[in-house]
Symmetry: D2
Subunit: 138 residues, 4 copies
Amino acid sequence: MLSEYVLRRRVQFYETDAAGIVHFSWFFRYMEEAEHALWRAAGLSIHPPDSPIGFARASATCDFKRPLRFEDEFDVTIRIAAISRKTIQYSCVMMKDDVTLATGSMTVICVRTEQDGSLKATNVPEEIAARFAVAAQV
Amino acid sequence: MLSEYVLRRRVQFYETDAAGIVHFSWFFRYMEEAEHALWRAAGLSIHPPDSPIGFARASATCDFKRPLRFEDEFDVTIRIAAISRKTIQYSCVMMKDDVTLATGSMTVICVRTEQDGSLKATNVPEEIAARFAVAAQV
Amino acid sequence: MLSEYVLRRRVQFYETDAAGIVHFSWFFRYMEEAEHALWRAAGLSIHPPDSPIGFARASATCDFKRPLRFEDEFDVTIRIAAISRKTIQYSCVMMKDDVTLATGSMTVICVRTEQDGSLKATNVPEEIAARFAVAAQV
Amino acid sequence: MLSEYVLRRRVQFYETDAAGIVHFSWFFRYMEEAEHALWRAAGLSIHPPDSPIGFARASATCDFKRPLRFEDEFDVTIRIAAISRKTIQYSCVMMKDDVTLATGSMTVICVRTEQDGSLKATNVPEEIAARFAVAAQV
């Protein structure tokens, strides 16, 4: 059972903006990259082909403390903060060396697509829930 | 003095993901688009050429309620929720017709880039603060 | 029958990069935006829900002549350059006032997704081909 | 002297679109990622802080042969196809195992930003040109 993953990442040029720093929208993508890497490390894909379920974002937050610049290397640590029957909550911290760049959170809901295209919350399958545990430190 | 702006927007194909819906990172970009349109409506640019100051994101949050799909039209309403000496806080609601898609918030800090490249908080210039007022309904 | 469309567009902040100009990858997205707007003007969607066919890119090119900056307004003119049984070829020019920013081209193939997930070229449906004509000037 | 680089890459979820495959605009970003990795392997940064010069895109092309899907791993091989006094030309091939996904090219021009904000072609500095050689196979 896994409860955290550390993704090492380098800033790409197209992630920067005219202020010379990484555009804030990318921090949310970094979080999601780390989440998906955590799932792979647990032997899972969060979006396998033809799966009847998916994991939709219910909420996402990020506090930005220090900017990132082109070619900076940094670490994205994602942790399981809580698991309920239908949701998984993550906490995330991004660091460059020992400087905290940003902290964030994401809550995802297990959903099934209905006939009319709407998304309906459903239970996280047992074989998925069984791979994850809440992190000691969140 | 302006306190809100409504941006009409259409979903572009590159904003969708393999789940068939708009990727959640785009909602933060929609918020920022509406913020910049609010500034333009107030006769300002948030990032004029050669400006010594900028408005860095300090935090951003979003709660996702309904998905958006390719070519959907929707409205992004951004409101000034608070103004302090160095920060502006926005609240945001995204709607398709009368259905709420998402609600969010952003806090931005007025910053000056120091010699060493770090960003230092500074006062929002009076000529900018004078253009905005906190919205009655936030 | 339509053969061209002019899309008026404004540069968003997240489209710029640390060189202070629009990242080149966005010009391809601008082209596609104009393509989809052309289809809508012709009464069509290029990606309707549950459609058995799609229009995959076969090639794309762009020559960049002048940079675009934050909040610049510009026009994207897309034209039908050729139509064959299975493909549509577009030419594109992007201009700011009377200055040419970039010229480009895209060829798209009508495809059907096979059982094994591969994409197979198929005929452009007659009701789609009937809406478009090759532009006089390409 | 370096003349090629192979970047191993994995498809991220936000790179896919509602057709279930990687959006074509990403292939241009993959090329650029490989270019910048080639520069780093040569001991250079293509965009160091406060550099008076930059490398603007003059043209980019891509031919798309096979789609990429979420979590696919693939290789981006970029090669120096030609170097002139002011330009560098790259050729690129993207492969998944031994299947060619796409081939592309990019020409970049060494530019200096003028007082009025326009970009003017200038010579590639000798210390940069000295690090690269045209690839045997292009």
